[in-house]
């Protein structure tokens, strides 16, 4: 008797002839299972259709670049690089310079980071390191709810709640105590750079804190235990064992927040005051690249006007691309290819 478990020696036995009774029997028995083998064409078609979808994503990016570059040709030829160094924005005389908008975008975004970064890191540390497990889910869900509110609703709330608070309480106080810095001078309108910075901060906190949280969770548990074993207090453990290990990822999270703040349009447009001027005081109204697009694009009468606006769009696009790419790389370096969740 041969043992079933042992491999049987291979004999070069003759295959059953096609068309004979034996071959027919095998074919009919296996046919339903091997239906897919009948033709490889559907497989190939499906595979290529999916590849086409993947390609479409890349094509989309190319299309965006193409549209923006072609659209901004006129302005590029008229002003060249001076476009970004000129602070004169005068549609009546067809003179366009993007400097006030760039200034506004950068200042409002940086201001929002100054407010948002400590708060979001605090929230992330609290959720991952301190709070009871039962609270954890609720807290992270609630902070992420902030990200689900449409930008225009933030703007609405800012106009009717935030701006009056700033005008009546915050700005007079800041002017009195910190007025000597020159950053907080001038009449307290409420609307202006400060309001834009605050509302932007509220909007980027969910992004920064949720990604920071993810980065903190991948810090290995034994790092914490090792630091604690050396006699560190909890705060020292968080600072040395957790935050220092997650540094690159946290910076990535901050830069992702910056990317969101740079491109944010509606809420900022509604509270920044929309005046193309460069003022040192944060109380003064300003203008950002995104809000000038929102306000003036549909009203742009001349070809050069439209082209100048598209060039601003192109500049905004490139800045956010660079910022986002940088952030992704930093976050990836910590979470090791596990992509951060798409929240932006």
């Amino acid at each position: 008797m041969s043992n079933q478990a042992l491999p049987r020696p291979r004999f070069n036995a003759p295959e059953p002839e096609r068309g004979t009774k034996a071959a027919l029997k095998i074919e009919t028995r296996t046919a339903p299972l091997l239906q897919g083998k009948v033709s490889e064409i559907p497989d190939a078609v499906f595979g290529w259709a999916m590849r086409l979808c993947g390609l479409a994503v890349v094509a989309l990016l190319a299309l965006i670049v193409y549209q923006l570059v072609v659209g901004s040709q006129l302005s590029w030829h008229a002003f060249g690089l001076k476009f970004f160094g000129n602070s004169d924005w005068n549609p009546v005389e067809d003179q366009y310079g993007a400097l006030p908008f760039m200034y506004g975008t950068i200042v409002s975004s940086l201001l929002s980071l100054v407010i948002a970064v400590p708060l979001s890191i605090g929230v992330a540390v609290f959720i991952t390191e301190m709070c009871p497990v039962s609270l954890r889910g609720i807290l992270s869900f609630t902070t992420e709810l902030l990200a689900a509110i449409p930008s225009v609703v933030y703007g609405l709330w800012a106009i009717f709640v935030l701006v009056p608070i700033l005008r009546i309480y915050v700005q007079p106080f800041l002017g009195k105590t910190l007025g000597w810095t020159g950053l907080f001078t001038g009449p307290p309108y409420g609307i202006g750079m400060l309001a834009a910075g605050v509302i932007l901060a509220i909007m980027v906190i969910p992004i920064i804190s949720s990604i920071t949280r993810e980065v903190l969770t991948v810090v290995p548990q034994h790092q914490r235990e090792a630091v604690l074993a050396l006699g560190a207090t909890r705060w020292e453990m968080i600072r040395m064992g957790v935050l220092r290990n997650a540094r690159a990822g946290i910076v990535g999270a901050i830069i992702l927040g910056l990317g969101r703040a740079l491109g944010e349009t509606m809420a900022v447009t509604m509270v920044i005051g929309n005046r193309p001027e460069i003022a040192k005081s944060l109380f003064a109204p300003g203008y950002t690249m995104a809000s000038v697009l929102a306000n003036e694009f549909t009203e742009a009468t001349g070809d050069l006007y439209l082209s100048a606006l598209i060039e601003i769009g192109l500049a905004l696009f490139f800045v956010t691309i660079v910022v986002n790419a940088l952030a992704r790389i930093l976050v990836w370096s910590v979470t090791r290819g596990q992509p951060a969740r798409n929240l932006a």
Partner: protein
């Protein structure tokens, strides 16, 4: 230090509650039957509503979903089933980058693509803009959900002689259905409140419009116009509109989630 951390949490949660409380407080008082059934009235005339904007938003979002969802899921399938290589990495990176492109820039692109050709603003242009924003989000979440499906299930199907495309559609995607739909709803919720890309694509409209090639009202646009206006009556409507917008988004997401959980949409 614990105190400081708790303080930051309180500071972050404060605006959230403030926004919701104010929204509900201001919104509920202004919502009535007229708001939900009438078109906007000129300044000074009482009444009027945003019915056309609510419908317009649905039309635009419908177009966006029709264009964006299949393409996004396709790209996600590519990434997880065919893209475990350098090309996949490129697509992955590009879609992450695309995710960060400011919405207003997407609006410019849709303007150049559709509005310039059609010679007027349209619901279609708005839909295209929102679709472009949906694709990268859907692609990435679909990919992540498909990767969660155990390789053994695919191999079992191959072992039974099922072809690759059949395996992908009937086994892999079907197993991941609920996750994929959640991703789609995330993308939907994200674009549903978008205003910036609609400013110069859908443009807005004070009247009823049923044609997809004409300027169309959208809830978010209407909120923006009313919010920056100097009239009290319009401010009230803006609050009501915001409440309706958020309720619509949340209920759409909840409805689909419920269908996924209990209904015919649920996966294997």
């Amino acid at each position: 230090m614990t105190g400081v951390a708790i303080l930051t949490v309180a500071l972050v949660l404060l605006p959230l509650f403030a926004i919701f409380a104010y929204l509900v407080y201001k919104g509920i008082g202004s919502i009535n039957l007229a708001f939900l059934t009438q078109t906007p009235k000129p300044v000074g005339e009482p009444g009027g509503g945003m019915a056309n904007a609510i419908v317009g938003s649905m039309v635009i979002l419908g177009i966006a979903s029709l264009l964006g969802v299949p393409l996004g899921i396709g790209a996600g399938v590519f990434l997880s089933e065919y893209g475990r290589n350098r090309y996949g990495d490129i697509v992955r990176f590009v879609s992450d980058v695309l995710n960060g492109v400011p919405s207003i820039v997407i609006g410019i692109v849709a303007y150049g693509l559709v509005v310039m050709r059609q010679k007027h603003f349209s619901a279609l242009a708005g839909g295209v803009a929102l679709a472009i924003m949906m694709i990268p989000t859907i692609a990435r979440t679909t990919e992540q959900m498909l990767l969660l499906v155990p390789q053994a299930i695919r191999e079992a199907a191959y072992g039974l002689g099922v072809s690759r495309w059949r395996t992908t559609l009937s086994i892999t995607l079907r197993t991941a259905t609920s996750g994929v739909i959640t991703g789609v709803m995330l993308a939907f919720a994200r674009v549903a409140g978008e205003t910036a890309p609609l400013l110069f694509t859908a443009f807005g409209n004070q009247f009823w419009n049923w044609k997809t090639d004409q300027p169309t009202a959208a809830l978010s646009l209407q909120i923006f116009t009313y919010a920056i206006s100097p009239f009290d009556e319009w401010h009230k409507q803006a609050w009501a509109g915001s409440l309706v917008l958020i309720v619509l988004i949340v209920s759409a997401v909840a409805a689909v989630r419920l269908a996924v959980k209990h209904g015919t949409l649920s996966g294997a």
